[in-house]
């Protein structure tokens, strides 16, 4: 048998308008720990979805070879039968069921068609012992912490005779000691012949545990490094992850920065349900007229939470701090207040939170600014149509008419509608959360131009993005956020990806306390 358990060759996966994976190659050695790293959107999760059968054979190009035999998975069940199990970042456990029930969910232990609880619990206890989970098998999953839940997932994978275990950001939600336990367990599994692929943003962790590291960037394999032989360092990895030509991805722009007009200070936000969790901790930032300010951070750093809590307390509980605009202290208790005060927030998830997909352009463009097209609560339909017609032109939305449903448009055009609907409210400050997520390069360029036009009119823009090159290419100043804290800011001249990455991964003093457990 070959020493590779897995070979993926020339994997190409297209989504409309986007090439998510472009001829990716990847080899994984048997009984090793293999890390897959790359920026958000590099294609890591898509690649793993292909490997685990989420995208069926035929939905993509390229070949997968598992243990020397071609693998053609039609669905997750197929891949699991071949011993490939994926554990997603968001755990797929039913919290109202017991640990044992979760382990054997979909694979119930039966005797003549009737579930045998004795066997279920006994077998579960054996698996739990193996992963070092010291709980009673009948304990409900909701009663145990995230770290232990992760172990339940692994036990569940073991119950399926796993050969190749894929973990997507397994430690993202864990505190340090839980993370350490988990990584130890992976090493132990390696001793027992289980191969692991882990996707992780925590490079320190990756270097500590992985035998080999594959770097993906823009849907392509950049390189595969042997951790020990190649003497890999974090800096070396970051360079490999982010290096790319920034020259002509961003429209040229000469900023005309005026005075600071928007300021948030001492901003602290708690989780709306778990009130003891601090999600944004004493954050402060400023935006000047004509300025594009970036907000960088890894997933879960609290960027969106920060933005939404400022936007009329649309997220979070127990919010404290001050927001001032043009020297006036604002009291924003609702989104309507925020809109009236001149703040707009374009969400990162335009399909769920940004648009009414079943409604046409007219309705979508005018919803937040309905008072601008109405008098005493009565809407002037003619005005609605002409406003929509004007915005459709101004924002270059490619749709045959304003009667087109938003859901029928491509991501780039939908994003233009989202921008348009907020510009129509005539805001002073626009908070743009991942304004170019999931849209193709051409549309991105148009969005960038629109953003620059906005600041040229004297508005301020706060741009949240997970793509560092985008922030570097667009922003005049960038804040970095880590675990709810703003850990620093860098000017356009001094900004580098390495510096931002350092700030984004900076462990803050209180970082440990913010974990749920």
């Amino acid at each position: 048998m070959s020493e590779d358990i897995l070979r993926m060759r020339g994997i190409t996966k297209r989504f409309p308008g986007v090439l998510a994976l472009d001829g990716v190659d990847m080899r994984v050695k048997r009984a090793s720990i293999h890390a897959l790293v790359g920026e958000n959107g590099a294609g890591k999760s898509t690649l793993m979805k292909i490997l685990s059968g989420v995208y069926a054979h035929g939905d993509f190009e390229g070949e997968i070879e598992l243990e020397g035999r071609p693998a053609r998975f039609r669905n997750i069940r197929d891949s699991e039968e071949s011993g490939v199990v994926i554990i997603h970042q968001e755990l797929a456990l039913v919290s109202e069921l017991s640990i044992a029930e979760n382990i054997y969910l979909g694979n119930e232990q039966t005797k003549r068609g009737v579930i045998s609880w004795d066997r279920t619990n006994a077998e579960a206890a054996r698996l739990m012992e193996q992963v070092g989970l010291h709980e009673h098998p009948q304990t409900l999953v909701e009663k145990i912490g995230v770290g232990k839940q992760q172990l339940v997932e692994i036990a569940k994978a073991l119950s399926k005779q796993v050969k190749l275990l894929i973990l997507d950001e397994p430690t993202a939600a864990l505190n340090d000691s839980d993370s350490e336990n988990l990584l130890e367990l992976l090493k132990q599994l390696r001793e027992n012949g289980v191969t692991c692929i882990i996707i992780s943003h925590k490079l320190g962790e990756v270097l500590a545990v992985a035998d080999e590291i594959t770097v993906l960037r823009d849907g392509q394999t950049i390189e595969t490094l042997h951790t020990v032989d190649d003497a890999v360092t974090e800096d070396r990895l970051i360079k490999s992850m982010v290096g790319r030509d920034l020259a002509h991805l961003y429209p040229p722009h000469t900023p005309d920065i005026g005075e600071t007009f928007f300021e948030v200070s001492d901003w602290t936000v708690h989780h709306p349900e778990h009130r003891e969790r601090v999600v944004v901790n004493n954050a402060a930032l400023t935006v000047a007229r004509g300025e594009i300010v970036g907000l960088a951070g890894l997933m879960g750093a609290g960027r969106t939470e920060f933005a939404m809590s400022v936007f009329g307390r649309s997220w979070g509980g127990n919010i404290s701090g001050e927001v001032t605009l043009d020297g006036r202290r604002l009291r924003l208790n609702s989104v309507a207040d925020a809109i009236r005060a001149g703040i707009a927030y374009a969400t990162e998830d335009r399909k769920q939170y940004g648009l009414h997909l079943d409604y046409d352009l007219r309705e979508n463009f005018t919803l937040p600014g309905l008072d601008k097209v109405s008098k005493n609560g009565v809407i002037d339909l003619h005005k609605v149509t002409s406003v929509a017609e004007r915005l459709r032109g101004d924002f270059g939305v490619k749709a045959p008419s304003v009667y087109q449903l938003a859901g029928n448009l491509s991501g780039g055009n939908q994003q233009k509608i989202v921008l348009g609907k907020w510009v129509f409210t005539e805001p002073e400050l626009l908070i743009l959360d991942e304004p170019t997520r999931g849209i193709d390069v051409g549309a991105k360029y148009e969005i960038y131009e629109l953003i620059q036009e906005l600041v040229d009119q004297g508005k301020g823009v706060l741009m949240i993005s997970s793509e560092l090159p985008e922030l570097l290419g667009m922003c005049d100043r960038i804040y970095a956020m880590s675990a709810g804290h703003i850990t620093g800011q860098v000017d356009r001249e001094n900004a580098t990806q390495e510096e931002l990455m350092r700030l984004m991964t900076l462990e803050t003093a209180s970082g440990g306390e913010e974990q749920r457990q």
């Binding site: 979070g316 939170y353 009414h356 079943d358 309705e363 339909l381 045959p400």
Partner: protein
């Protein structure tokens, strides 16, 4: 891109093919059902079904369901349901009968008492649904029991009779002694003329602003046919006794509520909140307040319907309005309401109610037994919703496969593997993403 840019002036055939089945399908269905019964009556009984008398009866017998359906449509569009309207109707009817007969209040105050009581009940239910966020199904299920019980209590399980002008609300043909027969014809003709005038004005304003509309021919045909329907209907009622008083009340409600639904900020907020609550909330819509007022309105309309039922029976009875909630809900769904909220029209609800009313009346005239009528009406509700689902699939069919998560279907399914968007990390973020406050 999946959009095919159509020519500026589509041919009549494209216009027919692109016809919005959801919007016009119900009108077509209603007319077809009437024609079907006409044929059956002629063949089986050698009589006419489409007679002024029969049509008037349909209005008289279904008026209260239609009133409920108007309110129910807004509730469903806003993403809720109301199971309590039958009981609320009975309670308000009882209270107004007591006000009229026991307290000796004049008829208009008795009406006001009923509508006010309904609105207060709406405040109660709206509070639990909108602000405490208990599902409407539960709150109104509780209300269904609660207000039926209270009806029995205030009536002492007895019947209270009503008389005088009050009863004319449900069956009269005059207002303050003024006969409504001639006004039926006059206003019908004026209404048709006004409709044409408004359509022409809107069209010319659109043309001036350079906005492409549907083809000239299709537009003209649609406008003229609808105007003709209005005139024919007016003439039909004129040739019997004129449009009954309750018909006028209904007409007024339809006009006012259509205006509110389509042309007011509040109305659009009802739709936006039901179509995508999170997006609406993040667009500054006060979704909770909107839902609250939708239920207050439903309560008030239940109160009005209670008056009509009481007036029609000339008495408040403990079991008035039994099952009416289900008829109102069925009317809304037959009339094109979407199960997930955000879609539906007032006129659709009324037509949905009329479809049921006409079928009921038609089968009764044919001598079909009540049990069979129930079976058939049940199947009609199922068929109407099936048609809606099918029509939606037909409309969005090619889109589902090409835009990841881009269609309404994908959104409702909560984004399956295909709905997770092009960037691989997308779906992961979606799960983690903070939800807007108060949206659960």
């Amino acid at each position: 891109m999946t959009i095919k840019t159509t020519a500026a002036r589509p041919s009549l055939w494209t216009a027919v093919r692109n016809i919005n089945l959801r919007a016009y399908g119900m009108i077509i269905a209603l007319v077809s059902i009437m024609v079907l019964f006409q044929i059956l009556d002629v063949v089986l009984q050698d009589s006419n079904f489409i007679t002024p008398r029969n049509l008037t009866n349909v209005i008289l017998q279904n008026s209260y369901i239609l009133i409920l359906a108007i309110g129910m449509m807004l509730v469903i569009v806003n993403g809720h349901i109301d199971l309590s309207v039958g009981s609320v109707l009975a309670f308000c009817g009882a209270v107004s009968a007591i006000a009229l007969s026991d307290w000796g209040l004049p008829w208009y105050l008795a009406v006001l008492v009923a509508v006010g009581a309904g609105a207060l009940i709406g405040v109660w239910q709206g509070f639990w649904i909108a602000f405490v966020r208990i599902p409407a199904f539960i709150v109104t299920l509780a209300g269904m029991l609660l207000f039926r019980g209270l009806t029995l209590k205030v009536l002492d399980a007895e019947t209270i009779g009503t008389d005088g002008t009050y009863n004319m609300l449900a069956s009269g043909y005059t207002i303050a002694g003024f006969d409504l027969r001639v006004p039926t014809l006059v206003i019908g003709i004026l209404g048709a003329a006004l409709y044409i005038a408004l359509a022409v004005r809107a069209r010319s304003r659109q043309a001036k602003a350079g906005i492409a509309g549907s083809s000239q021919l299709a537009w003209a045909a649609k406008t003229l046919i609808l105007a003709a329907v209005i005139v024919v209907a007016a003439y039909t009622f004129y040739s019997y006794k004129g449009l009954p008083l309750i018909g006028w009340i209904l007409l007024l409600l339809v006009v006012v509520y259509t205006f509110v639904a389509n042309r007011t900020v509040f109305g659009r907020h009802i739709y936006a909140g039901g179509g995508n609550e999170k997006a609406a909330m993040l667009s500054g819509v006060k979704t909770k307040q909107t839902s609250f007022w939708v239920f207050v309105n439903m309560g008030a309309l239940s109160g009005l319907a209670g008056v009509i039922v009481t007036a029609r029976l000339q008495a408040a009875t403990p079991d008035a309005g039994n099952m009416f909630e289900l008829h109102a809900i069925a009317s809304s769904f037959i009339g094109g309401a979407s199960m997930t909220g955000g879609v539906g029209t007032i006129i659709g609800a009324v037509i949905g109610g009329l479809v049921m009313g006409v079928m009921n009346q038609g089968m009764r005239v044919l001598g079909v037994a009540t049990d069979t009528v129930q079976v058939i009406l049940g199947l009609v509700v199922l068929a109407a919703v099936f048609f809606d689902v099918w029509n939606k699939k037909r409309a969005s069919g090619p889109i589902v496969g090409t835009t990841p998560g881009g269609s309404g279907e994908a959104k409702r399914k909560g984004g399956g593997p295909d709905g997770s968007g092009p960037s691989g990390d997308d779906s992961k973020d979606k799960d983690k993403e903070p939800e807007p406050a108060g949206v659960k």
